[in-house]
């Protein structure tokens, strides 16, 4: 009886909130927690797009030579969620570059490039035979662009959300769409019958 009382007291203490907050590392791909777009959905979208481009690589290379040079235009977020689209395109670019099948231009650092070149030309410290002159950079042959769209509806306490991420690859010279793919994600969230 005495042991039972001690056990009950210990259980009560544990359940009544004497626990401290514990942080731990968790796996990257969890099961869905909400109907919103979650990190695992973004990771799957990136993988789907990269795998799709790699599977169509022969067709893409045929249009623009070996290891075509790509750039990324903006990917529009037409959903109601705030999502860092640049982070998604950064992940796509990283994986495509690491596949050694594509090369990329990065216009976001063009101002830095000019600053380095000007500095090498003007600071008086750089061997001018080794200084990089402006006007020698390669040019993007194709660029990636796309959009994230969302449809949502709520019926009888059930929230249904549909997301579609579309990515296109356009040939800058011919104006043709060389490749395109889309990732669809549908999620559902029900309000619990019990609880607040």
């Amino acid at each position: 009886m005495k042991y039972m009382a001690i056990g009950c007291a210990a259980m009560a203490a544990m359940l009544c909130g004497c626990a401290t907050t514990v942080a731990r590392e968790t796996q990257l791909d969890r099961k869905a927690m909400t109907a919103a777009l979650e990190p695992q959905d973004v990771r799957r979208t990136v993988e789907k797009m990269v795998d799709s481009m790699l599977q169509d690589y022969e067709y893409i290379a045929e249009a623009n030579g070996n290891r075509p040079v790509l750039d990324i235009s903006g990917i529009k977020n037409r959903s109601s969620m705030h999502i860092d689209m640049t982070s998604i395109t950064d992940s796509i670019r990283t994986k495509l570059l690491r596949s050694r099948r594509f090369r990329f231009m990065d216009r976001t650092t063009s101002a830095d490039d000019l600053e380095f070149m000007n500095d090498q030309a003007m600071n008086g410290l750089t061997d001018q035979s080794k200084a990089i002159q402006a006007g020698q950079q390669t040019a993007a042959q194709m660029y990636l662009y796309g959009a994230l769209t969302e449809m949502r509806q709520q019926v009888n306490g059930v929230t249904d959300r549909y997301y579609k991420f579309t990515l296109n690859l356009k040939d800058l010279r011919t104006g043709e769409l060389i490749w395109t793919d889309e990732q669809e994600i549908r999620k559902q969230q029900e309000r619990s019958t019990f609880g607040l």
């Binding site: 039972m4 056990g7 259980m11 796996q27 990257l28 791909d29 969890r30 099961k31 695992q40 990771r43 799957r44 993988e47 789907k48 990269v50 795998d51 790699l54 599977q55 690589y57 022969e58 290379a61 994986k95 690491r98 596949s99 050694r100 099948r101």
Partner: protein
């Protein structure tokens, strides 16, 4: 006394997290053509079966496809990912290969395809698990 032991065991199990996270693994070696299936979860082994493994080469990058068959009449929510390794067996960009959701209808068959992240990758490992175990 017996009842108390059972209760304590139940409480201990609840707090210790008794969710089984083992699943089914398929190892593929594209150099030798060897493929082996390791069913680590008796629960999943009775629900899905690996019925085919094939691989291909797309401009120097390996592609592997695994065919999965449902053994039950119920819909199953699964997750799978394919991790790639180089010739030395070192995983390449494993974090970049997420678990993808698979909804498998009763007695249905589906395929899971994975592309290697770069030309160095020659071996693949498919990990299949039930979505409920992905806490």
């Amino acid at each position: 006394m017996k009842m108390k032991t059972i209760m304590l065991a139940a409480v201990a199990a609840a707090f210790a997290g008794c969710v089984e996270t083992a699943g089914t693994r398929v190892s593929i070696d594209t150099r030798t053509g060897d493929a082996s299936v390791l069913e680590s979860s008796t629960r999943l082994a009775g629900r899905v079966k690996i019925v085919g493994v094939s691989y291909d080469d797309v401009a120097g990058i390996k592609k592997a496809t695994v065919t999965i068959e449902s053994l039950t009449h119920k819909r199953q929510e699964l997750q799978a990912r394919m991790v790639w390794m180089d010739a030395d067996g070192a995983e390449v960009d494993a974090d970049g290969k997420p678990f993808r959701a698979i909804v498998l209808d009763g007695m249905d068959v589906t395929t899971f395809t994975g592309m290697a992240p770069n030309p160095r990758c020659v071996k693949a490992r498919l990990q299949l698990r039930e979505t409920d175990t992905a806490q």
